[in-house]
Symmetry: C2
């Protein structure tokens, strides 16, 4: 693939809104044909998400009100990196522990997940955690969520029938399902 | 699940940046515990994406420079709804035709995909298109992409080995793979 002819070059970059979580940039760019254009996007340090499954094959999910969607959405435990260079695995284990109280003695990396390549610079690092021990939840002050566990097979069905639609959750569940079916 | 205790209520809403594609809102909200907080998010009309597979079992993918990531990313054909009430299937067929030149005589709906529930209101409607005919590509003026076709099995492998990381693409590929394996 000749990617040279697809490249966009930065002319200038301006931070137009610097919020608590949203850092919005408006960049002037040069298109591959030499014309000028603009790109608007949110800069993001990255995030982690963890599909945790216990010895009885139950998966842990969190239900959380997602304000932009005006409803509760079901997701696997996840959270932002505290800083860009934070160790991904450590961050994943922290978020899992804080949101569910779980620690894991066996973690597999499932790869990167890019939620929205045109609008967000965010990359989410996905993990699969087993060999679990349950301790106490430790939520941030402004974090409200309810944890549920359900059989992994049922979670796969909820992904396939469209009940679960969160992208990182769908990706992690179907990747783990595929891995397990290939081992059989 | 008792979701009442998770709900966040709007106090006020303010459009802080109204760009070409990014419409950034800063809302003041009431948390479930009665405290005040803020939410920053991009409002979005929604989008569509299509996994198209021909009679020889080749899938069509597009390679596109994604400025926030500073590199070319491989995705299935996709695009924004032109307006919020646009028919999803019509939009999906338009984007497929514009980006690849393909029309399809058999389309299956794969469900919703939520790319980033905390930061974007965007929902992407996923489709699986077969029975294809190839016509001419018809790109927007500022759209630069290269179309490739590759065997569907190879696309599944690229998802599993982490070469393909775009979320909507991973979701559509693994859903179709699972559907096809269950039919066998």
């Amino acid at each position: 693939m000749n990617t040279e002819k697809l490249i966009e070059k930065q002319i200038s970059s301006r931070l137009v809104f610097d919020g608590v979580v949203a850092h919005l940039y408006l960049d002037e760019i040069l298109l591959p044909n030499g014309e000028r254009s603009t790109r608007e996007y949110l800069k993001h340090n990255g995030a982690v998400a963890v599909l945790a499954i216990d010895k009885d094959d139950n998966a842990y999910i969190v239900n959380q009100y997602r304000y932009p969607h005006g409803r509760v959405i079901t997701e696997i435990p996840a959270g932002k990196l505290d800083f860009a260079e934070e160790d991904h695995l450590e961050a994943a284990m922290r978020e899992l522990r804080e949101e569910t109280g779980l620690t894991s003695a066996s973690v597999t990396y499932l790869g990167e997940y890019i939620p929205s390549p045109a609008l967000l610079s965010e990359v989410i690092y996905l993990y699969y955690a087993t060999d679990l021990s349950l301790g106490a939840q430790d939520l941030d002050e402004d974090e409200f969520l309810s944890v549920e566990k359900l059989p992994f097979d049922m979670l796969v069905q909820k992904v396939l029938n469209g009940e679960i639609t969160d992208g990182k959750t769908v990706c992690a569940v179907l990747k783990v399902d595929k891995m397990r079916n290939e081992k059989k």
